[in-house]
Symmetry: C2
């Protein structure tokens, strides 16, 4: 019997890549859609699904999975019957696992900090305080997340260049491509640190995944794909 | 032949739990120790080991592993010959995997932001700017990382209470305990949100792992264990 899959999907969030993978695997799934409040945060509704209140949560026959890396790994190990997105060698498995941890544990950290400093920069405060708030935000950015993200983008550009197949691991889409898609889109569209000039391989890779029919289907099903996290 | 293991260890960093696991597994390993600069950052030396410049990096017979969750998983799957820290059921494996991702992908995010706001709060700026910088830092803390970390600590306290064995998964130490040790120590000692009164199970769990001989050995080998990250 086909599994009953429900994706709890916060708009413009990390959930978009899980939906993309579900589409690529050809699985039937239902989307429960949550909007962000004025503060770009999720409301209390997601906490009713899982106590952490984070998105995505993926329910499969009642089993609730959290953490994008876990969800991506689980879906590919259970439902990739033709091995389209799987890897077999130990080295490739380690590379995919490293990507699943690195994307969420490192790249996304920098983006999260920049989201917060951007909020500080645009905060509705008095004209006397505003310049100081802006300066604090810019100092934080320059001190940590911007240089760190630049190092990480250079590393990922190099990974693609060295692998040479157009994918991060092996010669086809793997969990590494799914997990990196979201933070790399944000790096290009939101913080403008990923550019065609500096990162030709990453730029081309993003274009190629965005051109996939399964990827576009997600945009149609979820009121669009937008890198505001 | 015994593997040649080198742990690249930045002082007072996430590397301490990898050293702890190596001790628990009874493996021979060498520590290469790196100090933090005045800004509490690592210098350029770690970049010579791995382009990301993060800590820990674990070298095993020349293979360089990054990301704490990957390293912990790898060590247990390869070297836990007696199954002391391993799990067998699919549900337990999923629970450990979720913990490995959750600790680094979610809990550590909040702590990282609070480290940065703390830096802003203590920045050496003029007395006119200081109150504004402090207010910005406190507003960031109150808006995101503090309430989020409180939700996560409540969730982890509940996990321990429900499991009832004194460990996060199964009835013995697993990768989940190793990965959570560091962010939970920081939550208790650095941001003071984990307290005996609010989190009796987490508090007791921390005391029990800190009392282990293998854990104390790490402190002796690495000039101490200190939750400044």
């Amino acid at each position: 019997m086909a599994p009953k899959i429900v994706l709890h999907y916060l708009e413009n969030s990390r959930a978009q890549r899980v939906a993309w993978l579900l589409e690529e695997l050809g699985l039937d799934y239902e989307i429960v859609y949550y909007t962000r409040n004025e503060d770009h945060r999720s409301g209390p509704e997601l906490k009713k699904i899982h106590p952490l209140g984070h998105s995505p949560v993926l329910e499969i026959d009642g089993l609730k999975l959290i953490e994008s890396g876990v969800i991506i790994n689980y879906l590919i190990s259970k439902y990739d019957k033709d091995g389209k997105f799987s890897v077999t060698s130990e080295a490739d498995k380690l590379a995919v696992d490293t990507a699943l941890h690195h994307a969420e544990g490192s790249v996304q950290d920098d983006l999260l900090i920049m989201r917060i400093t951007n909020k500080v920069r645009n905060a509705n405060v008095s004209f006397m305080v505003k310049p100081v708030a802006k300066e604090v935000a810019s100092k934080i950015d320059a001190g940590y997340p911007v240089p760190d993200l630049e190092v990480q983008l250079a590393y990922l550009e190099d990974l693609l260049a060295k692998n040479g197949s157009g994918y991060f691991v092996s010669d086809h889409l793997t969990g590494a491509d799914f997990i990196y898609s979201y933070p790399l889109q944000l790096s290009r569209d939101y913080v403008n640190l990923l550019t065609e000039k500096k990162h030709p391989n990453l730029f081309k890779w993003l274009k190629s995944i965005e051109a996939r029919p399964a990827y576009q289907t997600v945009g149609n099903k979820t009121k669009g794909l937008k890198g505001v996290f």
